[in-house]
């Protein structure tokens, strides 16, 4: 596979065999892994439901995550309470692991609001402009450092920031500027790049001649490539990077080598730009299948367990569908109210103008 390094960290093969790595090991229990599998199955279901809702015209757009479950669940499970996430627009599984109400995500893609989310202190808004959030994350991490929230004796006092971006985003100026700032100020930020091989229709080869993780060295911090479809490896590598950051050892770059199994968004057609043989090959690396195989072999799960999770997924699906009619559209009033934190006389005048016009229309 082009761009895949010999040093790529892998702890579980696509066939579900544990492998040893010199530098990284998965420290969780089998029980934890059963939990991760459940996370991944539910995330895939949530994603499938949302995709279907878009097809039924209930969402304006959806950004499917299918294929990237291990990258997201593995990294999210490495987070702790004071850590903060700066997502792109596809990190649904991260949001779910952190317990963010998924109605928030649906609401944004339905166009009910622009990201009026709960728990923004932990999980920031989805970002549509490619790469912008890498700088926000870095600035926030600089703030953590200034606040003395890094490198303390007591590990509970330490926090880190994780920012998700894509392989295409790695070409953006903002992302590269974020690497520079993070390095210059030794900011506690982990750049988590999901190299899903594609930026809409553009292959990774168009963004980079070298494997992306190798770029980190040029910015002055460690970069590592991990099998993004191996949740054990992703968790192990994320633990390492986040722990370094919390300890005050500065930024790190993780390239999760993965694959977007579906479309970029519900508006594109991947058959126009890629071979079905690629899909086939990657299907063999499916993150969910891999962990299922392993846990079955271990005797940690069985058909009954799988049937139970399938049942939970169905319930989740029904909940997701039931959420839609409950989503409330924002109002023009609320928008007028929130353009500024401190309202202006000029805009208040427009607000009254709108109110008079709207009242007249109703009459």
């Amino acid at each position: 596979m082009r761009g895949q390094s010999h040093d790529m960290v892998q702890l579980l093969t696509p066939d579900g065999e544990r492998v040893h790595n010199e530098d990284f090991e998965f420290t969780g229990s089998t029980e934890d892994l059963v939990g991760y599998l459940r996370d991944m199955i539910l995330a895939r279901r949530f994603d499938a439901e949302a995709t279907a809702l878009q097809r039924h015209g209930e969402l304006g757009l959806w950004t499917p995550l299918i294929g990237q479950e291990a990258a997201q669940v593995g990294s999210a499970r490495a987070l702790r309470t004071p850590d903060v996430v700066f997502p792109s627009y596809r990190e649904h599984a991260v949001a779910m692991v952190l317990g963010l109400p998924y109605s928030n995500l649906l609401s944004m893609f339905r166009g009910c609001d622009g990201g009026d989310w709960e728990r923004l202190e932990t999980f920031k808004n989805y970002q549509i402009v490619i790469g912008c959030q890498a700088l926000h994350a870095t600035g926030y991490a600089m703030g953590l450092q200034l606040d003395g929230a890094v490198g303390n004796e007591n590990p509970d006092d330490n926090a880190a920031v994780i920012v998700y971006h894509g392989d295409g985003a790695a070409s953006q100026g903002d992302v590269n500027e974020a690497y520079v700032f993070a390095a210059s100020y030794n900011a506690p930020v982990v750049f988590f790049c999901q190299n899903n091989q594609w930026a809409i229709s553009e292959p990774i080869a168009l963004q980079s001649r070298i494997p992306l993780f190798e770029r980190a060295k040029g910015f002055g911090f460690p970069g590592i490539q991990v099998d993004g479809n191996d949740v054990l490896a992703v968790k192990a590598v994320s633990d390492w990077a986040l722990e370094r950051a919390r300890n005050g050892e500065g930024p790190a770059f993780i390239e999760a080598f993965t694959y977007r199994m579906g479309a970029h968004t519900t508006s594109d057609d991947p058959t126009k730009y890629r071979e079905s043989s690629d899909d086939e090959e990657w299907r063999g690396r499916d993150p969910i299948l891999r962990l299922t195989r392993y846990l079955e072999k271990e005797g940690a799960i069985d058909d009954e367990w799988l049937a139970k999770v399938e049942e939970d997924a169905k319930v989740l699906g029904a909940e997701v569908r039931a959420t839609i009619p409950q989503l409330k559209d924002t109002t023009m009033d609320r928008l007028f109210e929130t353009v500024y934190a401190e309202p202006t006389v000029a805009l208040e005048a427009q607000r009254r103008e709108y109110a008079e016009y709207a009242a007249g229309e109703d009459a």
Partner: protein, 325 residues
């Protein structure tokens, strides 16, 4: 307590007070630390407040503004310096897509208390990209507030008000007036930031201006007075939001208005002011609102900039046209 200071020194004092008043205020930008900024506005502040409060940034405007977004999210009140007007554009995307929209996008949960200081405008004989007036781009962007002090007293107070504001403020500093002295009153309660000021009272026509053009307009009004014409000068002080109350009441009295700015004429601030005055005062005014502005060309080479910039003579010519109606 009064003191005579240049606008540059007044800004420096204002920043210093803001740093003293609130530990969450921090300054960032290129060369603002040891050097004190290319215009020395931040001179001495790093020595006094340390490298964590007055931060030298890598040479990356988007990085400066984008990281300030993150710092604001973390509870800081970043004040960033863009070295020159023409260099704000690499950071433009962050300003218009992130800084301006964050409060509304998040339903008011993530305000952006940030100040973006930009030394702007021409008249200093500089090379390309060092003399521009990009305020229109920002004033056209909802979610931003845009202000420009024209004198030392306003500079001192408005920079502090901008820093205290919970909204992002683009703070346009008229660089060719940096070294003009004025009386700063340190004890009197300042005017609200988003209020225009009548810089000179008059009866025959209103000159509307802000930042660097206020002095030029006052000079024009002084000359006009010798010729028997009484001009009122309104210093907008705030470009977004515009204080329509003060502006409209002035023009209602004088019945004539001329807007003066350095930025190119087409779709400039003057266009908005003219449109609004015509909407509100059509039956009151004796002549159409007229404009004296930069021409619709990229800022010219320094040796011809005086031809480009609104001058006392050009302003008085247009005033004559207005009075001739």
């Amino acid at each position: 307590m009064n003191e005579s200071l240049t606008m540059a020194k007044a800004l420096n004092r204002g920043l210093r007070r803001a740093l003293q008043a609130d530990p969450k205020v921090l300054l960032a930008g290129e060369d603002i630390g040891k050097l004190g900024g290319v215009f020395r506005i931040t001179e001495g502040l790093q020595a006094e407040f340390g490298e964590n409060r007055v931060v030298d940034s890598p040479l990356a405007e988007s990085g400066i503004i984008g990281t300030a977004v993150g710092l604001a999210m973390r509870g800081y009140r970043p004040v960033v310096e863009i070295q020159f007007d023409g260099f704000v554009f690499p950071g433009f995307a962050q300003i218009v897509t992130q800084v301006a929209k964050m409060n509304m996008r998040t339903g008011g949960r993530t305000p952006m208390p940030m100040v973006i200081r930009i030394p702007f405008g021409g008249g200093i004989g500089a090379v390309e990209h060092h003399s521009e007036s990009p305020e229109g781009y920002f004033a056209h962007t909802p979610g931003l507030k845009v202000v420009s002090p024209s004198n030392a007293n306003d500079a001192y107070w408005m920079i502090q008000q901008a820093i205290q504001s919970n909204d992002p403020v683009v703070f346009m500093e008229p660089k060719r007036r940096y070294h003009v002295k004025g009386t700063v009153n340190f004890s009197a309660k300042p005017q609200p930031m988003h209020q225009a000021a009548i810089a000179r009272y008059g009866t025959d026509a209103t000159l509307i201006c802000y930042g660097p053009m206020v002095k030029t307009c006052l000079d024009a009004a002084a000359v006009a007075e010798e010729e028997g014409t009484s001009l009122e000068v309104v210093d907008l002080r705030t470009i977004s939001p515009i204080d329509w109350v003060t502006l409209i009441s002035s023009v209602r009295r004088t019945k004539r208005a001329v807007v003066v700015h350095e930025a190119p004429r087409t779709l400039g601030i003057g266009s908005e002011i003219a449109a609004r005055l015509h909407e509100d005062l059509f039956y009151v005014m004796e002549s159409p609102v007229m404009r004296v502005a930069g021409y619709d060309m990229p800022y010219p080479p320094a040796r011809v900039e005086e031809e480009y910039l609104p001058s006392v003579d050009r302003i008085l010519d247009v005033v004559d046209q207005s009075l001739a109606y």
